[in-house]
Amino acid sequence: MDYAIEAEGLRKRFGDTQALDGVDLAARRGTVLGVLGPNGAGKTTAVRILATLIQADAGSARINGIDVAREPAKVRETIGLTGQYASVDELLTGEQNLTMIGQLLNLSGKRAKARAHELLEWFDLTDAAKRPAKTYSGGMRRRLDLAASLVGRPSVIFLDEPTTGLDPSKREDMWGVVRSLVHDGSTVLLTTQYLEEADALADEITVINHGSVIAHDTPSGLKRVVGGQRLTVRPVDPDRLDETATIIGDLAGTRAEHTGRGVVSVPVAGDEVLGDAIYRLNEANIAVTELSLHLPSLDEVFFTLTGRTENPQEVLA
């Protein structure tokens, strides 16, 4: 099969910490590989090795078939990197940042500027083009940073936690960008702590924890690991949420949980409850905007895989 990103047995130690302890990664061309794990799992270290910023202690990796340790300069011609924190020059304007990258990629001054304007427009930064990046909001900086990594039209793009710290609407904008990149044929490796994000974007997900891969599968394959289904309902009128919860709780024979704003859900044994749920809600005259029977969320998958029952960030803190 045609892989744009391949890595086997990556190991890296920093002092007393074994950041990576034999990690394999693979992404087929034109797909999104989600690398999922809590803080300190080794995600960033893996990205830095693949993007030729640091060398692995052991193992090998290839980008578009080119070895990252043996021919790093060649690898750099085909990759784009967006770091965990936006690495734009704060004193330069958005336009100057992008033009500079274009010139470093050997575009003429004029073509570098044209490319910069193209990207500024795509990332909705045209109005802010002439302002120093330090005046940008967090979301704008992230967009500029991502734009900077796309100046050279890389075929493989590394996004290291691209939405950490962004508010939900900005996060979805970023998701749209990732989807359009893949649509244009790029391969994306995306690290994230948001299980929802990996689920929304990735074709395949590698879950890593303490420097080791603990699972690799498609999003739905991963969900199948934990099994079971959930019924989720979102009534049109949020005031009728408790009433809705009582109805579906009765059906499932257990208490319904509030799993999000305006949403209640219950674990169910099978799909036969779906018809009953529609009937009972209809009878109670509760209109719904969402009613779904689905596999467990990736959060639950992750907790099952790592044997943790708490929020992974709290455990680490």
Partner: protein
């Protein structure tokens, strides 16, 4: 990658540093306000006592020395700025691009030329305003400024190296300044070295700044050149040979 890629990329990155300076003019205080302060301070406070009553005579003696001292002090900022760039992740971007790893460092050194030109102009200009008069031709004064700038660029690489190995910008500042103090005072900047004890003269004789100041006094005051120029060129070469490879290596390896 063509042979011209490194200088071209370095110029692009030098431009970035210069834009940074225009947005942050206080970054130029060390090459503008600082020489003015030192000239004024030493001329008017110590000058009378040191030169037997004539502040004017002392200013003649002092100015070439202050030029050399300011070179040493101004070299701190390049290391601090590089360290900040590394810390902020800006250099991660450069390191992921298909450009020479040397380009960001060479670019920063290129941009420093502007700072040192400014430093020479301010020091000599202010010196003239308070009564300094070169005793040689304008061409020789220009040559003195040229040597100052060339020496500064060589010394910058030591600061660049510290910038790539130190953990924080504050540490860079501490290390570089601590090195520069004995170098700038253990020389003939403020008093002739013949007034110092023998053991200290052993140090001042090998201190590269002593020879740089010797060259400057020869070019600006018509003092005998002796072998000062030779030793200045040797120390510039040594700085480059030692610190350029060290800086490139530690920058390339920095995780």
């Amino acid at each position: 990658m063509s042979a011209l890629a490194l200088p071209r990329h370095s110029l692009v990155l030098a431009k970035r540093n210069l834009i940074g300076v225009t947005r942050n003019p206080e970054a130029l205080l060390d090459v503008t306000f600082q020489p003015v302060i030192f000239l004024a301070l030493f001329t008017y406070i110590f000058g009378g006592a040191l030169a037997g009553g004539s502040q004017q005579d002392y200013l003649q003696f002092l100015l070439p020395g202050v030029l050399a001292q300011m070179v040493a002090f101004a070299s701190v900022s390049i290391g601090v700025n590089l360290n900040t760039d590394i810390e902020k992740g800006v250099f991660d971007r450069f390191r992921s691009l298909p450009i020479s790893r040397a380009a960001p460092l060479v670019g920063a050194v290129f941009a420093d030329i502007v700072r040192y030109v400014l430093m020479c102009a301010v020091t000599i200009g202010f010196g003239y305003a308070i009564g300094f008069r070169a005793e040689t031709s304008p061409l020789e004064v220009l040559a003195a400024a040229g040597i100052v700038i060339a020496f500064a660029l060589c010394l910058s690489w030591a600061s660049v190296f510290i910038g790539t190995i130190a953990r924080t910008p504050g540490a860079v500042q501490g290390i570089v300044l601590l090195t520069m103090f004995p170098l700038t005072f253990g020389t003939s900047t403020f008093v002739p070295t013949s007034t110092m004890p023998d053991w200290l003269q052993t140090f001042t004789d090998v201190n590269p700044l002593t020879h740089l100041i010797g060259v400057l006094r020869a070019l600006m005051l018509g003092d005998p050149m002796g072998n000062h120029l030779l030793w200045t060129l040797v120390s510039m070469a040594v700085l480059l040979v030692v610190f350029v490879p060290l800086a490139l290596r530690s920058y390339g390896r920095r995780a």
